[in-house]
């Protein structure tokens, strides 16, 4: 067997880490060493890692700052939850129902990504960031205002609450969102979604398409001059990213039983939080995104174990965030690290 390509190796290492994580957790679980608190964190860790990886495609490889990621999650979450709640009474097996829900959430989010991409991707830099931010908020606010109900007279949709006639059911109840979403998100499925996302993104980035996308990031004019269709590749990256965000939304919606389009779950703060995962893990580093998302999501939860100090856990979390950001990216810290680690390497070579 010949030597593996560098990019293939990177891909294998990242997937290896994820699989290893799964195996270790499963062993811990089977031997009864896993607490229910940790168990509850596994699915969120997987979907936030997936979200970070998908945002990295736009931020890291396409080089555009998108702040509307949570909006696409919201679309995916609501479309899939609507399907699941509507089909809950039917005889469809839960596994199949969730699979279809995943497809629906992904497809609807991809459609929205495509539609929003048409006007948005004409912009660059800060302007693009602001417009994506606006779209994310619009999506969230519309979904928080929709009432959708089904009764004897048929299906009603409105922006004001309305009474149902006879036997009926509110499917989306305005700010109260969707209630009773079946909790189908399991660790194994979330893990598979993360793995598939990793494979898709790695293969996309390392292909002809990926090189075209990165050429747009590095020098738009040069890319245009050699005949790369800028609009097409930008749309492609943006839509794929939105689609995966939709999948994340599906996992989110099916993790807790109630789904509301509140700012805590789908506001710009969440978009920025995902961006923080990407930036902290290293813009353009897929593996970094996964690790950063997992650690940063788990960190404030792990700080619960501090006893009396846990009152200050959100403060400690913020301080750690600042410290890590400085350590990773401040020029002085990088220079210092380089000096220290280089000199160590030298010592090693000498000895």
């Amino acid at each position: 067997m010949g030597k593996l390509k560098k990019t293939t190796k990177q891909e294998l290492i990242t997937c290896g880490i994820v699989v290893l994580f799964y195996i270790v957790i499963t062993i811990l679980d089977k031997t009864g060493n896993l607490k229910s608190h940790t168990k509850g964190l596994l699915v969120p860790i997987c979907y936030y890692a997936t979200a970070a990886v998908s945002l990295n495609l736009v931020v890291g490889f396409l080089g555009d700052l998108s702040l509307g990621h949570a909006g696409f999650m919201c679309v995916g979450a609501f479309s899939s939850a609507l399907f699941s709640v509507a089909m809950k009474e039917s005889t469809m097996p839960a596994g199949l129902r969730f699979f279809i829900a995943l497809l629906i959430g992904t497809a609807v989010a991809a459609l929205f990504g495509f539609l929003i991409g048409i006007p948005v991707l004409r912009l660059n830099g800060d302007y693009l960031a602001i417009v994506t931010l606006a779209f994310g908020e619009i999506i969230k606010n519309i979904l928080a205002a929709i009432y959708l109900g089904k009764d004897e007279a048929g299906v009603h949709i409105s922006l004001k609450s309305f009474p149902l006639q006879g036997e009926g059911k509110m499917l989306i109840n305005g700010a109260m969102g969707i209630q009773g979403v079946p909790t189908d998100s399991k660790f194994l499925i979330a893990m598979l979604v993360l793995l598939i996302t990793l494979l898709v993104i790695y293969h996309m980035v390392n292909s002809r398409t990926g090189r075209a996308i990165m050429s747009i990031r590095d020098n738009r004019i040069a890319a245009e001059s050699i005949g790369i269709d800028i609009t097409k590749y930008k749309m492609l990256a943006f839509t794929v990213s939105a689609a995966i965000a939709g999948t994340v939304g599906v996992l989110f919606a099916h993790n807790t039983s109630t789904l509301t389009a509140a700012s805590t779950y789908f506001g710009y703060n969440v978009s920025i939080m995902i961006l923080v995962y990407v930036v902290l893990g290293g813009i353009g580093s897929i593996r970094g995104s996964v690790i950063a998302a997992a650690l940063l999501y788990a960190l404030p939860e792990m700080l619960r174990g501090l006893g009396n100090l846990s009152n200050y856990r959100m403060l400690i979390y913020s301080v750690i965030l600042i410290a890590v950001m400085l350590w990773n990216w401040a020029p002085a810290a990088r220079a210092w690290r380089e000096r220290v680690f280089k000199s160590k390497n030298k010592q090693k070579q000498e000895s």
Binding site: F21, V24, H37, G40, L41, T258, T260, Y265, N311
Partner: protein, 395 residues
Amino acid sequence: MKKRLAALAMTAVMSVGALAGCGTEGTPATTGGEGGSSATLKIGGIGPTTGPAAIYGSDVRDAISIAVDEINAAGGINGMQIEYKFEDDEHNAEKSVNAYNSLKDWGMQMLIGSVTSGPCIAVSEKSKEDNMFQLTPSGTAVQCVQYDNAFRVCFSDPNQGAASAQYIADGALKDKAIGIIYDSSTEYSTGIHDSFVSKAGELGLTIVSDQSFTADSATDFTAQLQSVQGAGADLLFLPIYYTEASLILQQSDTMGYKPIYFGVDGMDGILEVENFDTSLAEGVYLLTPFSATAEDELTKNFVTKFQEKTGHVPNQFGADAYDAVYIIKKVAEEQGITADMSISDMCDKMKAGMATVTIDNVLTSPTTITWTADGEPNKDPRAVIIQNGVYVLAE
């Protein structure tokens, strides 16, 4: 390359180790509640102590600990001492479930929480799976107690809306033109709003203007206030939390608009807002089950202890939580609950007990509280008016 690989492996191992690590520290607890040898009853609490609703969570946390200390000093429940732990959920359903799981690992046998509605609904899905007894002090949404293991101390949203409309229709305020400003992005506010509007329609009250805002635009209410003022409303119904209400009061004062304000339990806490000119809140009506200035011994005792502990006057959330502990005590004593029971058996007994118990001598009801089988309390609401910076019972 080798070094980098090693570093990666280390990272992976550490992240897993850290995750598992937080699982292994502390006392090893089993979900079956087999720690019978120690005669302590472990009660957990969940609520926001950080974030936008922090004042509710912290008041609940402190009030529960006061009640627990009192009960422990007086010999506990059936001789069992209570052990108590409170976890923060940041007013976020996802975090609330994490907090619930964390408490379960600690060995929680009964839950007081979650404090706010959305998180409470999410947690009730989990507590139902475990059949753990759940008593929320202040989760007002209907679905908070949709399962038979969940009960609440406070009124539900529809109850509050309907009771507010009833109070207005019964008293001197019935001829006022009503304006409403509510938060269409929270289930709490829309729930009360919807039931208020439908009850007001039944009772023949006149609503002249109905305005809404969302959590993202909750800083400038000039547009809503102008519409309400333009429509000639002289009573403004505000089924919202006190933070927004304090801004509304300030902004309408600047505009020179002075209607009668009518709030519900979310308005409770408005006198504690920092940098808020409390004189603006003079004459505000609010429908709250608890009044910190009531003259009875129970309230006085609670308020004094609470002030000693925290330095401020407790709001209704704290009173609900304080009651919750005593409700658990009474039911547990009636049913002969012991710490070595499994969580599920304990819950079944508590459920049976809640259906029959009558609690008197509580902070949050002028008379008694009983419960219906679907977890709703039967009690009387109390309307108060803010006068000279304190609550006074309204006629």
